[in-house]
């Protein structure tokens, strides 16, 4: 049977009520698509229209939205991603996560741009989605299974699946959702599905073919995109050959690698877990999202098995952060996390807290920095809810409130820090503090300019508020297209104006007149790609400014939704360790001077002094006040 062709987007969302086992088609408002672009932005808007503030994230009133972008399914480079948004059981605020697994493509080629889940199933269930709607099927035989075997079962009924493991079923607050070998990692979305008694969702896929409206422009823009990616040394070099662990050595050199629960920023043994070492040791090959031209995902032969190589964040947080430098051991733990379905970043942060709490007599466990004994057992205990594992399954914020050790619980708003220590890149500190989902590195990756490219001074606070806002807006827009964030290296840094300007000149400009330096970066490829797919159906032209404004709108909407859950300035902070404790690896002990940057950031964002978006700001961005 020949697939039906859709030009542009289908503008259809599937809304499912799990309690009543009913579903309906929701037409996506064209204005919403223009304002929020798709992906994360549209997902948030759909959630905003439905979510009542204050609901229990694990209760039937919480919703979870899976949303694809305009680019997915068109063959646009690095567009094989989709987004999920919900209220997080780990943080109690909005969580969004991006994933490169095959579910997104299957959902979109089933003719749906988004999927909304409401309510709670009575018994374990899995959903089968096709272009007609959804079938509810009993998951009795799947409940209790790990993600590998559950996914294998589900894929018999479609091209792409979402699945949770035992961690999600046991409501581990940082359980994730798996699709292929990729994950909707952060914020405990697996627990949200587990609470709704949904073991998995499979989309048939292949029912619809998506073609761009302006094919000529699409092909032309695609070509420019490929060229930029091939020219950029990160996207066509280090990431392609060494994966995201190409970051290990630069992070170590810049003093931003988390060591021993963020008490240090570099370590002499870090090279053992670098991408370069692992490429050689494990004979790595590509294992990527589809479609992808950067190819940062790698697999290799570890202990005689073909395994996905743990990503940088996993390496950093289950490695140096626990004082472990054996990539085989880290890979074992990573495999366990994949098997049970748990976020390795939060797990690493929570284990490091538990090690320090044990050392300080706050809890009694076998865990010890630098020792592997007891870690695998603890991972199992967390996933299965045994012993103290049940408390650690709530994350480091909760555990530290119960047992103490809040001063070394490394989280922001309940979400554990990614593998970058902001004492070596203070703008990243501001970004962690203001990121909507908690200590997220993907909200505004300012550290790349500060610590990797030498384009901004890592310890200066001047203009960092501007850089953080700029990247937050740009990344929110990219996650709404939806395209891989790594394309930013190529799109932003390859245009001639910025490429031909010496790094030290950019650094000087960034330090003294950041708006000028950042505006040298040409973001136009992204909006052009989006516009070529939709044509003039919505707007005559999506300018770079409109694109950035859409990103701003998405970011501020998420912030506004968080403030309705009680978030304010008191939450935009960093762990005490980062604010008050210096590190021995620094010649001069440094902490993150957050307060002055935060004040300027609020002003620039149009928030009041308490960090709440003002009515004027919401109105300017066209966000309806509820």
């Amino acid at each position: 049977m020949q697939a039906k062709t859709i030009t542009g987007t289908s503008n259809r969302a599937l809304e499912i009520d799990l309690t009543s086992r009913t579903f309906r088609e929701v037409r996506i408002n064209e204005t919403d698509l223009e304002l929020y672009l798709g992906g994360k932005g549209l997902g948030l808007k759909l959630l905003y229209d439905r979510l009542t503030p204050g609901v229990d994230p694990l209760g039937p009133d919480n919703k979870i939205v899976f949303s694809t972008g305009v680019l997915l399914g068109t063959g646009a480079p690095c567009s094989g991603r989709f987004e999920a948004v919900t209220k997080s059981p780990l943080t109690g605020i909005m969580a969004s996560a991006s994933c490169g697994g095959p579910f997104g493509m299957a959902l979109k080629t089933s003719g749906w741009d988004a999927l909304i889940l409401n309510g709670k199933a009575e018994a374990p269930t899995y959903l089968v989605i096709n272009s007609e709607g959804v079938q509810f099927k009993a998951a009795d035989g799947l409940w209790g299974k790990d993600t590998d075997s559950a996914q294998d079962e589900l894929l018999k009924e479609g091209n792409g699946a979402l699945v949770i493991g035992q961690a999600g079923e046991n409501l581990v607050r940082f359980a994730n959702i798996r699709s292929g070998h990729r994950f909707l990692g952060r914020g405990g979305m697996g627990a949200v599905l587990g609470a709704k008694k949904i073991k998995g969702i499979v989309a048939k896929g292949g029912e619809v073919k998506i073609v761009p409206v302006d094919k000529k422009k699409f092909v032309k823009t695609n070509r420019k995109f490929f060229k930029a990616i091939e020219q950029n040394p990160m996207t066509s070099g280090s990431f392609r050959y060494f994966g995201t662990n190409a970051n290990v050595n630069p992070s170590n050199a810049a003093g931003i690698l988390p060591v021993r629960n963020f008490t240090g920023g570099s370590h002499g043994e870090a090279h053992k877990i670098s991408g370069e070492t692992m490429a050689e040791r494990f004979k790595t090959e590509w294992d990527t999202c589809k479609p992808c031209v950067i190819k940062c995902g790698h697999k290799g032969t570890i202990k005689g098995q073909k395994r996905h190589i743990p990503e940088y964040e996993t390496m950093g947080l289950l490695g140096p952060n626990l004082e472990i430098f054996d990539p085989e051991v880290i890979s074992d733990w990573n495999e366990l996390c994949s098997y049970y379905g748990m976020d390795t970043i939060t797990l690493g942060g929570t284990l490091a807290w538990a090690m320090e709490a044990t050392e300080k007599g706050l809890i009694q466990t076998q865990l010890k920095f630098g020792a592997t004994e007891g870690v695998a057992e603890m991972i199992r205990d967390i996933a299965l809810g045994n012993g103290i594992g049940k408390d650690l399954a709530m994350g480091s914020r909760w555990a530290s409130k119960k047992y103490g050790g809040e001063d070394f619980a490394m989280h922001v708003k309940g979400l554990e820090l990614a593998a970058y220590d902001p004492r070596g890149a203070v703008g990243q500190g501001l970004s962690y503090a203001t990121a909507n989902r908690g200590a997220c590195h993907l909200s505004g990756y300012v550290l790349a300019l500060e610590a990797y490219f030498g384009m901004a001074s890592p310890h200066a606070t001047r203009w960092k508020h501007y850089m953080v806002k700029y990247f937050e807006d740009a990344f929110a827009a990219m996650n709404s297209l939806h395209i891989c964030q790594f394309t930013a290296f190529a799109v932003q840094l390859e245009p001639p104006l910025i490429k031909l300007t010496a790094d030290f000149v950019i650094k000087l400009l960034n330090q003294n007149l950041s708006p000028l330096a950042l505006n040298l970066m040409d973001l136009s490829l992204w909006p052009e790609l989006w516009h070529s797919i939709l044509g003039k159906r919505y707007i005559p032209y999506l300018s770079m400014l409109k694109f950035r404004k859409a990103g701003e709108r998405v970011h501020v909407l998420e912030r506004y939704m968080n403030t309705r859950e009680g978030i304010s300035k008191k939450d935009d902070t960093l762990p005490r360790r980062l604010l008050y404790e210096g590190r021995k690896c620094d010649a001069k002990e440094r902490t993150v001077p957050l307060e002055p940057m935060l004040e300027k950031y609020y002003k620039l964002r149009g928030f009041d002094a308490n960090g709440i978006p003002t009515k004027k700001t919401l109105k300017r961005l066209g966000i309806e006040i509820k």
Binding site: G54, G405, D407, E565, G566
Partner: protein, 387 residues
């Protein structure tokens, strides 16, 4: 007529020294404990306000040598800092501790005291409920602004874990206007409202006794006189002294009585949300009083006597006295509205957390309050007033 219970216990150990030049008496007090080299534990904010300089001046004419000043305490007392301070204590050969500040500073000093007195590296056994096995080193507390009274008692909270042991009572508390002076109206108001709730709940608790009344009564009296006028004026030293004394008395009474609902809910809600106890008390205490009014709970006459004085007490009819005292309590809380406005965050507390908080508070009440009772009060407390 004052009812006499068949049996009661009451303990309040520390010597209280309050008034002008109280600080100058610390050296002789230390001498009485045969201590010559105390370690001072304080916070950065106390140093920034110049209070440590004032404090050190009091030692100029004495033979006591300060072993060191540890000023790393901020808004949280944790074992990491306790270990650090204990190391400093040992390295400098100290023989006593002085806590200069409020809440976390005193908590940390108590934790350091256990570590150095018992030669421990962590508080593990004590977190499991074990009381210190041997007498601790002399600890002197010099409270500053935002004093919640607990500092002068046998309780400490370190790493969010509460330890209560008689050995933790400080040897002496020095209330001196040079240090107790308020840093801002908000802090003073928080001190006052917590003291008000403690004194009221201690005096109206089921298990109260004449000793509790003896302390709660003057505490309420001082608060009634100074809270409304004193809180907005942190530079008014006499009001600050009155509030600090009231807080000390209220806490001494309260820690000998079973905890009341306002206290239990504030503590549990504070843990769940991270909002400061004083700010939460400003919305929870009125809701508790409303509940008492609705339920027509009999309130003993003495409360009115303490709050309003003899004249009003004498002119009120017996059955009206309880209701009048509740009205005065509400008026006192209302008087703080400008200084301590109800927080936006407090009204945005996620509804699903209330259940958890109500269960925790009811669970800690030893059966005196039920979950629905706690939930009703909480729901009313966080209901945003119509603007």
């Amino acid at each position: 007529m004052m009812p006499m219970p068949d049996y009661y216990e009451f303990l309040n150990y520390p010597k209280i020294v309050s008034g002008q030049f109280a600080l100058e008496n610390i050296p002789s007090e230390l001498d009485g404990y045969h201590a010559q080299k105390p370690l001072v534990i304080t916070s950065k904010s106390i140093v920034q306000r110049g209070l440590t300089k004032q404090f050190v001046k009091a030692f100029y004419d004495s033979t006591v040598v300060l072993g060191g000043i540890y000023d790393e305490v901020r808004d949280y007392a944790g074992i990491s800092q306790a270990r650090e301070a204990a190391q400093l204590y040992k390295a400098r050969g100290c023989d006593a501790l002085i806590a200069l500040g409020n809440g976390p500073v005193v908590d940390l000093a108590k934790a350091v005291n256990i570590l150095v007195s018992e030669n421990l590296d962590h508080l593990g056994p004590h977190f499991d409920g074990a009381a210190p096995a041997r007498p601790l080193k002399p600890l002197i507390v010099v409270p500053a602004c935002s004093f919640n009274g607990w500092e002068a008692t046998h309780a400490m909270t370190v790493d969010n874990r509460r330890l209560v042991a008689d050995a933790l009572y400080p040897a002496a508390v020095f209330i001196d206007e040079r240090i107790t002076i308020g840093c801002c109206p908000e802090c003073l108001a928080e001190t006052g409202i917590i003291a008000l709730a403690q004194a009221f709940e201690a005096m109206t608790a089921d298990g109260h006794n004449p000793m509790i009344d003896a302390l709660a009564h003057p505490a309420l009296n001082l608060l009634a006189q100074h809270l409304a006028n004193g809180a907005p004026r942190p530079s008014d030293s006499s009001a600050c002294m009155a509030l600090a004394n009231a807080a000390t008395m209220a806490a001494a009474a309260f820690c000998n009585a079973p905890p009341g609902m306002a206290h239990l809910l504030t503590e549990a809600l504070g843990r769940a949300t991270g909002i400061a106890p004083g700010k939460l008390m400003a919305i929870i205490l009125p809701a508790v009083i409303d509940m008492l009014q609705e339920q027509r709970t009999p309130i003993k006459d003495d409360v009115l006597l303490a709050l309003a004085g003899l004249e009003q007490f004498a002119t009120s009819a017996g059955p009206d006295r309880g209701r009048s005292s509740l009205r005065i309590m509400l008026t006192l809380v209302d008087s703080l509205k400008k200084t301590l406005p109800a927080l936006r965050e407090a009204f945005q507390i996620q509804r699903h957390l209330l259940d958890q908080v109500a269960h925790e508070a009811a669970g800690n009440s030893a059966g005196r309050f039920t979950v629905p009772q706690c939930l009703t009060v909480l729901t009313q407390a966080i209901q945003e007033p119509a603007s």
